[in-house]
Amino acid sequence: MKSIKELGALLGDFKSGSIRALSRCISLIEEFPQDRQTIISKLKSSRPTPLIIGFTGPPGVGKSSIINKMLFRFVKRYKRIAVLAFDPSSSISHGALLGDRIRMNEHLDNENIFIRSFASRGKFGGLSSVIYDILEVLFSFGFDLILIETVGTGQNEIEIAQVADATIVVLDPLSGDSIQALKAGIMEIGDIYAVNKNDVVPSAMYEKNIQQILWDKHKRPKIVPCNAQSVEGIDYLFENIQELISEYRKGNILVHKRSLRYENYVKSIVEYKILEYYRKKFNEYYSRVSEKNKNPYEITSPFLEKHLR
């Protein structure tokens, strides 16, 4: 197997901390998902699981700027940090324009910060179909903190909440998208809602509106005003994140989330394999179907009966 061969050559460098080897291994997972089990088992090393924090929100709301400013604070507490920036692939061309890292150029000189851009490559949910495996590679390499940035607008882009230990949803009162997003999926997934302050719309009103939508008997996520342009605006958000993590650790919520993540990982492997298998089988069956304008249920029922017996 091409990937395993290359992996063999990279293994030594990976284990001695070469960024180049890490980067290549991530690519191998993306390029050869069918080999990911082998790749991961070869790279496996037992290291403590790092904290994973997700940032999501509508496009243009300032996630990258916030992450950029946050990194200055995170580096004081976490030694090695990985930032994964996800952007959707075009559903038409399947290409992608990955520019989130521009706002993080200030950290290029820091050898302990690894930034990588990803395209969703057709996967709904906002991340990648191999996100869990990519995380495993990062775990094996040895990071203390992983930040994941993803675009979140509709019902679909909520996968981040299944992956991260804490999810920060960034909103901007001036962005019409934010209102739409609130009405859709991402209103349910945030552990903290960071509201961008500005000089035009008083955020207090907006925060109250969000509160009314988000708060109920069972959950009261934190709503935190922030401002990527000011030191205080970021410090406050940072402190809230730290506080939240602390709470989650104490209250065993972190443990609970990680077991959910493990469950999602397991399910995703099975789903992937099943889909791959049945897709293949069904395509074979369908190519032999002569009358393609019958009732769809008539066409599919023989196939389903056979395989779901």
């Binding site: 180049r20 692939s89 061309s93 290409g95 324009l97 520019g99 521009i102 150029n105």
Partner: protein, 125 residues
């Protein structure tokens, strides 16, 4: 599908062309990592390593190409990277020939059509 880094090197801040080629390549199905402006040879190489790109496309319009591009090639060599480098911008033919002899895969002057550039990427990948 090719994963390509589009980078601007040196102090030149004119990014119209770099942004256009980035969008065009995306629309043709490639994954483009755009670095933004004001990169040094060493920061471009750092990005290329982290992003594990198949190609590096550098845009430069300030006339500093004869200094900066050779520095980039040197930095790639230092890091043992064999990623092919393409250069686009305002580069006289004499300089373009010279840069290609130093190891740049191809220099595209501003006359090159987007289609021509994209087709070339397929040729070399």
């Amino acid at each position: 599908m090719i994963r390509i880094l589009i980078a601007k090197i040196g102090l030149d801040g004119h990014d119209r062309g770099a942004k256009i080629i980035s969008k065009y390549l995306r629309d043709k199905g490639h994954e483009v990592v755009y670095s933004g402006i004001r990169h040094t040879p060493s920061s471009i190489v750092k990005i290329a390593i982290q992003e594990d790109v198949d190609l590096i496309g550098v845009s430069i319009l300030s006339g500093a190409h004869n200094t900066l591009i050779p520095q980039l090639l040197k930095e790639l060599k230092k890091n043992k990277l064999k990623t092919p480098v393409l250069v686009g911008g305002i580069i006289p033919k004499k300089d373009a020939d010279h840069l290609e002899s130093l190891g740049v895969k191809k220099v595209f002057h501003t006359v090159s059509s987007l289609d021509k550039i994209e087709k070339y990427l397929h040729e070399i990948n």
